[in-house]
């Protein structure tokens, strides 16, 4: 079969399938999401979106405990959520192979922070593979399952954005069917109370020692001897950059980066005159070299953000390619809420109320930007709720404190925060933005939307009943496209002396088929007041005279702008044959 062009994530899915994986489970998060979205397309694998990474890791742990191979997927911050099961799964070990696919995001293309999963893996004492292209993603995935079972330990395959999303050619193989291991009760291995855990802790060290032996011979690690005057120790995408920037350099290419084989490193460094490390984030590899007393060339490579061939070349004195003069004063193009986005109506109301908005993570975080500027904090998934309670405890009173959280995020880690508010007699207000999907990461189903991973129907939780059961004193559902009603309900509930949950329910503009005819501005009636422009809808702009204009090819007829216009200047028109963006 001819090689196929595959993204790293597609190759990971393929590799897991070839390895005979029985179950894939995860929570979406860029750049990891497409792994499960691809795996679900293969036969003989059950896939599920879990409400969060901890649940996903526990489900995968259960599959392994039950004797089958399991893959669990997440982005780097997801591993923080799943760290609790992982750290103890390292003790119990596995029955069926258990592999974590964790995708880091150096440069924060789509993340709230930068983390190096290798550090968390080292802290958890679990092995790590690091592919540098799609072919390795497939091969390392297969090897990861073998290693998991051979050494009785969960294994992490660490990707980064460039490896996950870059496409390269892959030779694929066939699926190996792996027979299930029959269940056998083993409390010494699986019941981690102190007496047993102490023994497993010692055993874990023994397993790590044998893994260090394995690292010496692991096919994922290799020495490429070229010019011995410079030797580079590298891993992941940095390897590709080194190959391009320094084609003559000798390389220790590490595809298995925890535990490291000191012998392998010292053997390589003794064969070259000067040694340098090229790695993104870190310092991880370079710290180990330091511990081993290996003198390293001071490269000045940054530990923040991404590397590239030119950054690496420059660090070693290569000529930087000449660049053209830049064209000055270009306006930035920040991402934005789509035309017809239901979130806009809620933030419009919160802005009017001068609310202190503790926000959360999702498309709606974009409401922090101009012109809405209606969000005061965003930390991690679920934080909006605890933050609002804490801000109230601190006595913040410059406006009503309101927590705003998406439906998927509420299911991920908002429910426990709400329970805490009820338990602590909070009279706060929590808005759940129920747009019927997990929009930010590409419209995955979730337990609120009632859509399963393949797009089929799944049971949907009754959000109102859930909020009441968690202890909300009032639960009200509004249509966020109805600006007056939304504002009224939010004002009432913010003023009320009970804990309130307001559910703003309307489907994401990108998933609904229910688009109406577009609107246009009546030039005569427009007074240039700018009220509609301040909604921040990409379909609305000002013409050279300051009048509002609506791009009818973008407008989906949500009519929020009609409601803010006090001059009846926005009128519905028929569909136009204007140019739309191609897709």
């Amino acid at each position: 079969m001819a090689p196929i062009l595959m993204s790293g994530n597609e190759a990971i899915a393929r590799g897991a399938w070839e390895a005979g994986v029985a179950v894939g489970v995860g929570y979406p998060g860029t750049p990891s999401t497409e792994v499960l979205e691809n795996l679900v397309g293969y036969e003989s694998v059950l896939c599920e979106w879990a409400p969060n990474e901890k649940v996903a890791a526990e489900v995968a742990g259960g599959v392994s405990f039950g004797g089958r191979r399991a893959l669990v997927t997440m982005k780097h911050v997801g591993l923080n959520v799943a760290a609790d099961p992982l750290f103890t799964q390292a003790y119990t070990g596995v029955t069926g192979g258990l592999v974590y696919l964790v995708a880091d995001d150096p440069g924060m293309h789509s993340s709230q922070n930068e983390q190096d999963t290798r550090n968390l893996a080292a802290a958890a004492h679990v092995p790590v593979f690091e592919p540098s292209d799609s072919q390795e993603a497939l091969e390392f995935m297969r090897e990861a399952f073998t290693v998991s079972e051979r050494f009785d330990v969960p294994v992490i395959v660490r990707m980064t954005t460039r490896v996950s999303h870059a496409k390269s050619l892959v030779d694929v193989g066939e699926r190996s069917e792996v027979p299930p291991v029959p269940y056998a009760k083993n409390t010494q291995k699986y019941v981690m109370m102190p007496g047993m855990a102490r023994l497993r802790r010692v055993d874990l060290d023994a397993r790590l020692a044998t893994l260090t032996e394995y690292a010496r011979e692991c096919p994922a690690n290799r020495v490429e001897m070229r010019d011995p005057s410079l030797g580079i120790v590298t891993s992941g995408i940095s390897y590709q950059y080194v190959r391009e920037a320094l084609p003559e350099a000798s390389i220790l290419k590490l595809g298995f980066t925890h535990p490291l084989s000191d012998d392998l490193i010292l053997d390589f460094t003794s064969r070259v005159e000067r040694v340098a490390v090229a790695e993104e984030l870190g310092p991880y590899l370079s710290l180990r070299l330091q511990v081993l007393g290996v003198e390293q060339v001071e490269t000045g490579l940054p530990a923040i953000g991404e590397l590239s061939p030119v950054t690496i070349g420059r660090a070693f004195g290569s000529v930087v390619p000449p660049v053209r003069a830049t064209i000055p004063d270009l306006p930035p193009r920040p991402p934005l809420l789509c035309p017809g986005c239901p979130h806009r109506g809620v933030f419009h109301a919160l802005g009017k109320m001068h609310a202190v908005v503790t926000g959360d993570i999702g498309c709606y975080t974009l409401a922090a930007l101009a012109p809405l500027k209606a969000m005061d904090s965003c930390v991690c998934m679920g934080a909006s709720i605890g933050m609002s309670h804490g801000a109230a405890l601190a006595g913040v009173d410059s406006g009503p404190v309101v927590a705003v959280i998406g439906d998927s995020t509420f299911a991920h880690s908002g429910m426990t925060g709400l329970l805490h508010m009820a338990y602590s007699r909070s009279a706060g207000t929590v808005v759940v933005l129920d747009n019927r999907t997990t929009a930010m990461t590409g419209h995955q189903g979730n337990p609120v939307s009632g859509v399963a991973i393949g797009g089929g129907a799944a049971p949907a939780v009754d959000l109102e009943a859930l909020a009441r059961a968690l202890g909300a004193g009032a639960v009200r559902t509004v249509d966020p496209h109805d600006l007056a009603a939304t504002l009224e309900v939010l004002k009432e509930e913010a003023a009320a002396d009970h804990l309130s949950v307001v559910i703003a329910k309307a489907p994401c503009a990108l998933i609904t088929r229910d688009h109406k005819d577009p609107y246009a501005v009546d030039e005569e009636a427009c007074t240039k007041c700018g009220a509609c422009v301040r909604l921040g809808c990409p379909a609305i702009s000002r013409d050279e005279n300051g009048r509002a204009v609506i791009d009818t090819s973008l407008c989906v007829g949500c009519a929020q702008c009609v409601q803010v216009c006090r001059f009846d200047a926005i009128v519905q028109v028929g569909p136009s044959c204007d140019f739309g963006g191609a897709s």
């Binding site: 293309h109 999303h165 830049t326 270009l330 306006p331 193009r333 930007l369 702009s541 191609a582 897709s583």
Partner: protein, 196 residues
């Protein structure tokens, strides 16, 4: 140089990802090693998006550095100007004459950028109106394929390969319109060979 680098620069939603995918598959079909890189996620919500396709005998890095690209195919004027830094001196520059104002401009926080065409023309830009040509092809949503046609003139691939891959990659009902769009794009830009 044994590796050729093409950057497709546009705005989320303009179809740069599909165009990059077609280009990468064409290069594979013609026997090259290929790497393609794009960024998903947040940026797709109407932000700037660059898709990079690199092909040659052996390609290591999937990303592009400033001054490295041989071809810049810009789907929009501001993104053309922004991504110009990637294009090496002597590289081929194709620019769609479409302006998509970013939100800070739409809401009046920032002024409209001045007329960018003269500055781009000074950099050797070959201009076309991809949306108008797409309409002429009877396929208004195929501006991205028009732009691929414009790119194709400067690239060493057979027309037959382009046509086959496009036909495989677009929805069946739109094949004819897209092939016409590709043709119009390549005719509109039959100039400007990338200097090696």
């Amino acid at each position: 140089m044994s590796v050729t680098t093409v950057v497709l620069a546009g705005v989320g939603g303009q179809g740069t990802i599909l165009a990059g995918d077609v280009l990468a598959k064409v290069a594979v079909a013609e026997g090259h090693d290929v790497k393609l890189s794009e960024v998903h996620g947040m940026a797709q919500r109407g932000g700037s998006v660059d898709t990079v396709v690199r092909f040659g005998e052996t390609v290591h890095s999937p990303v592009v550095d400033p001054g490295v690209a041989d071809h810049l195919i810009a789907f929009e004027l501001i993104e053309a100007a922004r991504s110009l830094r990637f294009l090496r001196p002597g590289g081929r520059l194709v620019v769609n004459r479409r302006l998509v104002a970013p939100l800070p401009v739409l809401i009046g926080d920032l002024p409209e950028p001045g007329d960018l065409e003269p500055a781009l023309a000074a950099e050797g830009a070959i201009f076309l109106d991809a949306e108008a040509l797409a309409c002429e092809a009877g396929s208004p949503r195929s501006a991205n394929i028009v732009l691929l046609g414009a790119a194709s003139y400067g690239l060493p691939f057979a027309a037959e390969t382009w046509r086959r891959i496009i036909a495989e990659r677009v929805p069946p009902k739109t094949v004819e319109g897209n092939l016409r769009a590709f043709q119009l794009g390549s005719e509109a830009c039959a100039e400007g060979v990338c200097e090696l």
